[in-house]
Structure formats: structure tokens, C-alpha cells
Amino acid sequence: MSQYQFILRRLLQGILVIWGVVTLVFLLRYMTPGNPVDFVAPLDAGQETRDQVAADLGLDQPVYVQYFDYLFGLIQGDMGYSFIRSQPASSIIFARLPATIELALAATIVAIIFSIPLGVISATRRHEPADYAATSFSLVGISTPNFWLGIMLILLVSVGLGILPTSRRPIGFVPAMEMFIFQLEIQGIRTWIAHMILPAVTLGTYFTAMIVRLTRSGMLDELGKSYVLATRAKGVPETLVRYKHVLRNTMIPIITVLGLQLGTLIGGAVITEFVFNWPGLGTLIINAIDVRDWPIIQGSLIVIGVGFVIINIAVDALYAKLNPKVSYE
């Protein structure tokens, strides 16, 4: 099977999963007790007004009609209207998406920059102080709830030291870059970075810790294999032995694990956003769940599900590329 066929097949599978996601989310809504009309209609509304509200929301139709309506709407990018704010759910959701993506990416970058060197040091200096430091850090890192870590960072850095802002994101990455490119104004980027640091560290710590652990144990396994000895025996510099050979082979299985842990990243982003008042998808979902704004909940869950599926297809393709034994079956 060629690489393209492989990706195509994974795409088709992905579409099936996405359809499953949509269906599940839809079911979830209809199984959850609580009539949305109660929230939308005024408290003193009579039956007539309530019926009218239900009809406006399309809730008077049989469930299967609503399901297919929703499905067809979705294909055209229509996720219905927010119950609370009379705006299309899709535009509300997509307005929030960049903030979340920026946060998740920044955290990922933080995680990769710190974790891989730490993991390598830990594995290659096994049982030395550096290893103990890295292992302890990673143990505490995977054991710390990130909302609490965020609050502690706010307490120490913002409240205590009085540096770095604690909340809201006054400017997005794209506007900040535009400001820089078109007006040669650096202020936007500086504001963006200042606001990004604490949330990115909060979200990135767990992943840093997790990847350190994975890298360490994977690399120790890998270092015990006999090709390492053979590579050293032929005179290859140690740097290359460690990075080109051992680390690379260590990362191959780790990449798949990271794909699976993407959900954890998104979940972490949701609560990090809440802690830092970050105007992203996370705060949107939490508020929507609080007021049972189902179109928003549904839409957000679907967007997250789609993101997960797409990234995992990319991960699989990368895995297949790095691991010559997978012949795209």
C-alpha cells in the first residue's frame, strides 16, 4: 500500500470516527435530563410562549429529524444557534479556537524543549544527581493538578513578585504578528508573550514530566540493545549514537503515545483556560455546560473530536515514516 493510500484509508476511518463522535454527542444531549426550554424561556412564560421557544429551537420535531437536520447542518458548517446568545454556535466556537490552539501549541513547545533533554540526561546519567533531579521533577510533575499549579504560579509570580499578568489574553498571536509586520510595533508580541508564559508553563508541566518519564525509560531500554554497542564499536561519535540512533528510536513509540495523550492536553487546556480567564474553547465549554447551552457544548465537543482525529492521523503517518517496519498496512 502506498503512503497516499495509507493516509487516505486513515482519513476514511477518521471520518467514520467523527461521525461516531457527532452521533454520540447528539445522544448525550438527548439523554441528559433538563429541558433547554426551561433555560431559554422567561421564568413566568406560559405554555404558549414555551411552545413557541421550543419551535424556534427546533425542539418540537421528532428526534431523528433533529438528528438529520443537525447532521446536514454540520456538513455545511452550521452548528445551530446558541440558546443563550443569539449567534451561530459555529462563529462563537471558531472565534475562541485560536486562543486554545495557541495555548496548546505553546505548551507543547515548552514540553518538547524541556522534556527531551531532561529525559536524555536522565537516561545517560542514570543514578547520578542529574538523573535523580529529573526523575523527582517528573514524578511531581505528573502528580500535580495543573489548575493548582496555575494558581500557585499566579500566587508566586504575579501576586508575590508582581511580574507577569495573570489573566485574559488582550491580543492574539495573529494580530500581534500583524502589528509587528505592518506597523513594526513590537508591543503586541511582548504583550502576547507576557500573557502566554504562565498558562503555557501550567499546561506544559504535566507533559514535560510525562515525556521525561517516557524518554528516560524508553532510552534506557534502547541503550541496552546490541546495535548501540555495535554503533559505538564502529567509532561513531557518542553524540550521534545518542541522538541519531538511540533517541530517534526511542521517540518512535513515544510519538504514538503522545497522539493518544492529546486528549489529556486538551482537557488540561480547558482547565488552564479557566484558571487564567483565557478566552478560549475551554472557558466557553465550562460556561456552556453551566447554563446548558447545548449547541455550544455539542459544537465544541465535535471540534475537539475532529482535531483529535486529524492530529492522530498525522501522528500515524509520521510513525509510519519513522518506523521502516510499518509498511502502511
Binding site: S143, P145, G263, I266, V270, R292, I297, L301
Partner: protein
């Protein structure tokens, strides 16, 4: 069901690993704390007292500055509060004793952690074994469903699911405290609020990991000679599953379950922090309370968080010990906490 060889390697790993010993001690401490909280706690964790609010932990002195109008002039009045051993960890904004709350919070965390894991094991292992053992369509169907579940972050799915129980009788149930009932202690809450809905939800969102593991095990055990032999002797599928497949896939399931307890405790604290748990006696909930007083009373948010870290570190250390001793090869194959 645990063979001597397994016991041996557990013992060997334990005696050689300092970390395993630390883990065991931490977990035992938290466990005993949770069980005997009413005996240890100096105060009723729910008892409020406004005149006792925001007292710092023992040994910490805390100064607040207030502006007051004295004789038409604006003056700064400094009030100094000193923490005492009466409230070792201080009190929160409503004057509740934080130390007592931390002790009782251990109950919530452990009960939800263990209960949620039990739910996850129950559903996940069942589904996984059936899928792996029967293979074919059943396997395909169940595993595609698992794929769909995986596409939802545990926290987000849990948030969406707690709606099921919101306002219902099952969101939280009150379990009478046996020690208070028996009259062994007084001045402690009569009953303990167990967030049942939350427990079920955190279990359900984590079943996939168990399904994946036990499916893999079932797939490989199915091929074993003794299973084929049992089958040819006319054993029913159900018997084979129960007598051969389940016992033999136990090792990785136990290791995963240990790690999952830690992950679920983190998840529980997140949901409590967001106010979706249905109980107000939880470390996550206290952190949320303390968040509003960061500028003045730092201890309210800090101390319960430390309790979470200590507990989860302990459990993770136990998990590492089991994994190193039993080596089921499940690096990273588990749900994260957040």
C-alpha cells in the same frame, strides 16, 4: 491468583527501591487519614465561624492593612493575626478549619479514586476481554467505539456527563459515618457526602484504557495451547474467559488500575475545582475557594493542593513499583489526569 514468582519479584523490587517504600508510606498515611479522619480532626470540617475566618497556619503571622476614617482623617490600621496550633493549617474565608478539611478531603479523593477505578475496570475489562476473545465483528465494533471515546478528552467528556446527575438524587449520597454512629467521636459530621454521580462519570470516561489493555491480553491468550485445549474439552466461552483469560491478564490490569487511581484523583479534583462534583468537602473545591483570596490568604488554595500532590505522588510511586516488578510493558498507556 498471585503466583509465588510474582510475589517474589514484588518483594525484590520493593527491597531494592527506596521510591517504592516512600510510596507505600505516603499511601498508607493518606489511607489511614481518610479512614480515621474524625478521630484526628480537631474541628468539624464544615463548621463555620466568621470571627475565625482567614486565620493563617500555625506559626505564620499575617498582617492586614485597612484604611479607616478616624475623626474625619484617613488612617492605616494594621491588624496582626497569628496562626496557632488550634488551627494547624489555618482557616478559610468562612472560618472552617483547613486541617480538618484536608483530613476529610482525603476521604473524597480516595473514595472517588477507588470507586471510579472500579467502574472503569468493570466496564473496560469486560468490554476488552469480550472484544479480544471473540474477535471479528464484535471486536471491530467495540474497538471503533473505543476509538470514538478516545476522541473526547476525559475532562471534557466528564464535564458533559456530570449533567446527567445534576440535581438528581444520585449526584451525591450521604453515607453515615460509622464512628460517629457508634458514638466513638462527637462533634463530627453525622454523615459523609459521597459524590456517586461523579464517581460513575470519572469511571466511565476512563474505561477505554482498560479495554485496550485487556483486549490485547485476551488476543494473545486466546492463541495459547491451554485455552485451545480447554475449548476442545468443551469448556464454554464464558468459563474460559473467567478461568483462563481473566486471571492471566490480571498483571497489566492491576498496574494500570494503580496508575488510574492517581489519574482519577486528579480528575476528581479538577471537577471539584470547577464546582461540578456535588460535594463541598474536597481538596479541589477548597482550592477553588482559596483562589479568590490569593492576595490575602495564600494558604487556603495552597495547602489542599499539596495534599493532592502528596497523595498522587504516593500512588504513582506504588504504580512504578508494580510496573517495574511485573513489567507488563505499558509505558504511557493510560489516561492522563486532566
Amino acid at each position: 491468583m498471585i503466583s509465588d514468582r510474582v510475589k517474589q519479584s514484588l518483594k525484590r523490587e520493593f527491597s531494592r527501591s527506596v521510591m517504592a517504600k516512600i510510596g507505600l508510606v505516603l499511601v498508607l498515611v493518606v489511607l489511614l487519614t481518610a479512614i480515621f479522619a474524625p478521630f484526628i480532626a480537631p474541628h468539624d470540617p464544615t463548621q463555620q465561624g466568621l470571627e475565625e475566618s482567614n486565620i493563617p497556619p500555625a506559626g505564620v503571622t499575617y498582617t492586614t492593612e485597612e484604611f479607616q476614617m478616624v475623626d474625619g482623617e484617613r488612617q492605616t490600621v494594621e491588624t496582626e493575626t497569628r496562626g496557632s496550633l488550634d488551627h494547624p493549617f489555618g482557616t478559610d474565608a468562612l472560618g472552617r478549619d483547613l486541617f480538618s478539611r484536608v483530613l476529610f478531603g482525603a476521604r473524597t479523593s480516595l473514595l472517588v479514586g477507588l470507586g471510579g477505578t472500579a467502574v472503569a475496570v468493570g466496564t473496560g475489562v469486560g468490554v476488552g476481554l469480550v472484544a479480544g476473545y471473540f474477535g471479528g465483528r464484535v471486536d471491530d465494533g467495540l474497538m471503533r467505539f473505543a476509538d470514538i471515546m478516545l476522541a473526547f478528552p476525559a475532562l471534557v467528556l466528564a464535564l458533559a456527563l456530570v449533567g446527567f446527575f445534576r440535581g438528581s438524587d444520585y449526584q451525591a449520597i450521604a453515607i453515615p459515618d460509622p464512628f460517629v454512629r457508634a458514638g466513638l467521636v462527637d462533634g463530627m459530621p453525622e454523615s459523609f457526602v459521597f459524590p456517586l454521580g461523579l464517581t460513575v462519570v470519572v469511571g466511565i470516561v476512563n474505561w477505554v484504557w482498560f479495554a485496550r489493555i485487556s483486549r490485547g491480553e485476551a488476543l494473545s491468550i486466546r492463541q495459547e495451547e491451554y485455552v485451545k485445549a480447554a475449548k476442545s474439552l468443551g469448556a464454554s466461552d464464558w468459563t474460559i474467559l473467567r478461568q483462563h483469560v481473566l486471571p492471566n491478564s490480571l498483571t497489566p490490569i492491576i498496574v494500570l488500575a494503580t496508575i488510574q487511581v492517581a489519574a482519577i484523583i486528579l480528575l476528581e479534583s479538577s471537577l471539584s475545582f470547577l464546582g461540578f462534583s456535588g460535594t463541598t468537602l474536597s481538596w479541589g473545591f477548597d482550592i477553588a475557594q482559596g483562589r479568590d483570596y490569593l492576595g490575602t490568604s495564600w494558604w487556603i488554595a495552597s495547602i489542599p493542593g499539596l495534599a493532592i500532590v502528596v497523595t498522587v505522588v504516593g500512588i504513582n510511586l506504588l504504580g512504578d513499583w508494580l510496573r517495574d516488578a511485573l513489567d507488563p510493558g505499558l509505558e504511557g498507556e493510560h489516561g492522563g489526569g486532566m
